[in-house]
Every structure is written in C-alpha cells, then in structure tokens.
C-alpha cells in the first residue's frame, strides 16, 4: 500500500465477490469501469496514473456499492479518497475546477443573480451572489492554491 493513501485498511475486508461491480450503473454501460478492480488496486498498492487521472472520476457517486457490500467496505468513500489523492497530485477535472471556481467567486456553482429576471417571471424571489465568505474560506483552507496548481509530471 502506498504510504500516501490512508484508506487502504478500509478495503481489507474485501473478498472480491463483485457485488459492487454487479450493481454499478456506470459499469453497466462502460465495461472499463469496475469498482471491484479499483478496490483490488488499492489492496495491492497499484494506485497508478490511469486510476487517478481517469477511472476514479467516472464514478457517478450513487452509493449502491457501499450500500450493498456484504463486507461493509465503503467503496464509494474509498473512491472519493482516491479523488482527494489525485487532487493532491494536481489532477482536477475541468468540470470540478469550473464549479469550484464559480463557488469561490459567487457562492454557488452558477452565478444565480443572472437568473433573477427569469425567476421573477416564474414568481420566485430574487437571489444574490456573494463570494466574500468563500474568499475567506478558500484562502484559509488553501483551496485557491490547490485549484491553481499544475498536474505533477
């Protein structure tokens, strides 16, 4: 197990039955995505570039695997922890980066005030964008730096 990845122990009870894979909505349409194999890679310490750059980001986060695992392995949470490891290595898919940047600026993943006209037509109250608290949170947590870093070679 790589030293960097602290969630390997949670995968130890896995006996590779494949219940996670059998119930996976992404796997159903994308044979290259296989949660059982991801857990295997974690157990064998084979957390490679392909896993961090591509595979872990294909999970739709539906929680079915974690819910059904007969051994109580938090498959979904392990995949999330792998994403966090990827982020530490500078790997952040553009979609996530975009959303996180807009939250930084406005507090939401969309600039909601842009939609006030349409909302008024639907009879809905006005909304406000306010990035000020997020500016503080991002700088305090170093999130602005994380989102700006280059991918490690």
């Amino acid at each position: 197990m790589t030293e960097e990845f602290k969630h390997g122990e949670e995968a130890l009870p896995c006996f590779s039955c494949g219940t996670c894979t059998a119930g996976c909505a992404v796997r159903e349409v994308h044979p290259g995505f296989d949660p059982r194999k991801i857990i295997r890679q974690v157990l064998l310490g084979r957390i490679d570039d392909g896993l961090l750059k591509e595979t872990v980001w294909l999970c739709a986060d539906c929680h079915t695997c974690s819910e059904r695992c007969p051994q109580g392995v938090p498959v979904n949470e392990i995949i999330m922890a792998l994403r966090h490891l990827a982020v530490k290595r500078g790997i952040v898919p553009a979609a996530y980066k975009g959303q996180m940047d807009t939250i930084h600026k406005s507090g939401h993943i969309y600039e909601v005030a842009d939609f006030n006209k349409k909302r008024a037509k639907t009879g809905l109250p006005e909304l406000r964008d306010d990035g000020a608290p997020y500016e503080k949170i991002y700088s305090s947590l170093g999130l602005d730096r994380v989102l700006k870093q280059e991918e490690e070679k």
Binding site: A25, H30, H84, V92, Y96, I103, Y110, G123, P125
Partner: protein, 295 residues
C-alpha cells in the same frame, strides 16, 4: 411546520418549476418556508476535492439555519446527501469539528448540529403524510401511469438520509403518487442512478446511463416519470432529445417533479406549478387533468 428552504444551485436556476411547485404545494399543505438569502453551495462539488472543504461549505449553510433556530429542507437530493453527510461526519469526529469551528469562526458563524436536514419530498411524506395528501386531492389523477424515479441521494446512504425508506425497497414516493389517484409502475430501472454525477466528466457515459432509465420507463408504458431531484430531471428530461438522437430511439416521455404532480391533483393552476418550463411538454396529462379541462 416551519423550516428554511435550501435552494442550492441547480434548483433555482435549472428547476424553477420544481421550486415554484414545491412552494405552492407546501403552502397548500401547511408547511411554512423561510428563505435565507445567504445560503450558498451545499458543498457537493468539494466532496471530490477535499473532506474539510466539503464539511466547511456544508456547515456554513447549517450554521445559517441554526442561527434562526430552523431545520432545513432541500429540494435537491445531492444537497441533501452533502449537507446530511457532512453534519454526521462533523458531529462524530471531534478533530473535524474543531477544524470546521475554526473556519466558521472566521466568518462569524457557529455550528452546533441543532439543525436537521430533510428532503422536500420526505417532508411531504413524513410531516404531511400520504393520507393527508389523499384527503386534499380535488382532481384525482385516475388512469395516469407513473414511473417513479427515486434517484440515489434521496435514499443513500440509508443510515444518513433514508429515514423510513429501505434503500433497496423504498415506498415513500410511490405512496404519495398513489395518493393523487395515479398508478405507480414496477419497472426495471426504478432504483437506478440517473448518471448525472458524471455528466461533466464523460457526457457520453452519463447519457448512456440515463438512456437505460428512460428506456425502462418507456417499456413499462409510463405516461410520465416523476423525480425529486433537479439533476435527475436535467438528465431524464433536459437531455432526453440528445439521448433520443444518440440512441436512435423515441421516448417523448414527460418528466414531472413530484410537487407538480401533487399540485395538479390538488387542483392548482398548471402555469403556477411551472408546467410551461417542462422541456418535454405534458400536453396529454394537462388536457386530461388540469382544473379547466372537461371530463
């Protein structure tokens, strides 16, 4: 019941029909909603980036509701999952709680965990109840066949958000839809994921997941699908044309938000329930069941 309405990001922008219909139905059924203008993102996107960041973004909203002594109702299932999971994690982990407290202190907020997080549909089910919805129905939707789409975060993790529903055999949405007089269908994709979680990463894969759900509801001869999450609806309805093209199929399947369906059965005005904003027009349903249609 009085609670804060947490809009999140997607509902107030992309699902105004959901927001409008929930406000109306809540009012009709005796739930008082309070708007808190300072609410921001639930923290869901940050859950893939960093644990502490996700916890702080969620806790900021919980603290805002807590300051007014209110529980918090979410429209979006991902908001529910994000806020409720963060709340659990923070309250179980002293170290995380201390870190979150430090960050919130910098923006003059305090989180103690008093605020409970509950989904809009679950409020209708647990606070109002299917029986009371049934009693309030003025225009029974008899003969309407509905494919209920539960989605993921409304049910899972079961121990955090599931409440009385078993994630593998939920009944809450079916019971409420049946309370309107409509029929609910058993169909293969009933508990499936909409694919929305990966739309931004791999659109083709995401739409292939959605296509399975639409096909399954279509095969069951549904008149419409019913959802309780803006993102499920973006996938099933907003992307339906694109999916039809990609898979060379034709669904033309209306996708309604649960409060739109309930509102219709309560005899509320379809325009006020936001039916004009539905991308796949529910023409046949409105012709049959709207208050001014003749029967």
């Amino acid at each position: 019941m009085k609670a804060a309405l947490f809009l999140g990001c997607s509902a107030p922008v992309r699902a105004q029909n959901y927001e409008a219909s929930f406000r109306l139905v809540a009012d009709a059924l005796g739930i008082e909603l309070v708007d808190i203008l300072e609410f921001g993102c639930c923290g869901y996107p940050a859950a893939s980036i960093d644990d502490l960041a996700a916890a702080v973004l969620a806790a900021r909203n919980l603290a805002l509701a807590e300051a007014q002594d209110l529980d918090l109702i979410t429209l979006c299932s991902a908001c529910l999952g994000s806020l409720a999971s963060a709340r659990e994690r923070i309250l179980k982990d002293d170290e995380l709680k201390a870190a979150v407290d430090r960050e919130l202190d910098k923006i003059d907020l305090k989180f103690e965990g008093k605020t409970q997080v509950i989904h809009a549909a679950r409020v209708l089910y647990e606070t109002v109840g299917a029986e009371n919805i049934k009693r309030a129905v003025k225009r029974p939707l008899e003969g309407l066949k509905v494919a209920v789409h539960y989605g993921c975060h409304y049910l899972k993790p079961g121990d955090v958000v599931g409440h009385t529903d078993n994630p593998e055999a939920p009944v809450s949405l079916d019971e409420m839809v049946r309370a309107t007089g409509a029929e609910t269908l058993e169909y293969a994709g009933r508990l499936g994921c909409c694919g929305g979680g990966i739309l931004g990463v791999s659109e083709e894969t995401a739409l292939n997941v959605t296509q399975k759900r639409l096909q399954s509801a279509f095969n069951a001869r549904a008149d419409c699908m019913v959802t309780v999450c803006p993102f499920c609806s973006v996938m099933l309805e907003g992307n339906q044309k694109k999916i039809e093209k990609q898979s060379e199929s034709k669904f033309n399947l209306p996708v309604l938000y649960l409060p739109q369906l309930i509102g219709l059965s309560l005899g509320l005005d379809p325009d006020a329930l936001g039916f004009k904003l539905n991308r796949v027009k529910a023409k046949k349903i409105l012709a049959e069941y709207s208050p001014d249609s003749s029967r």
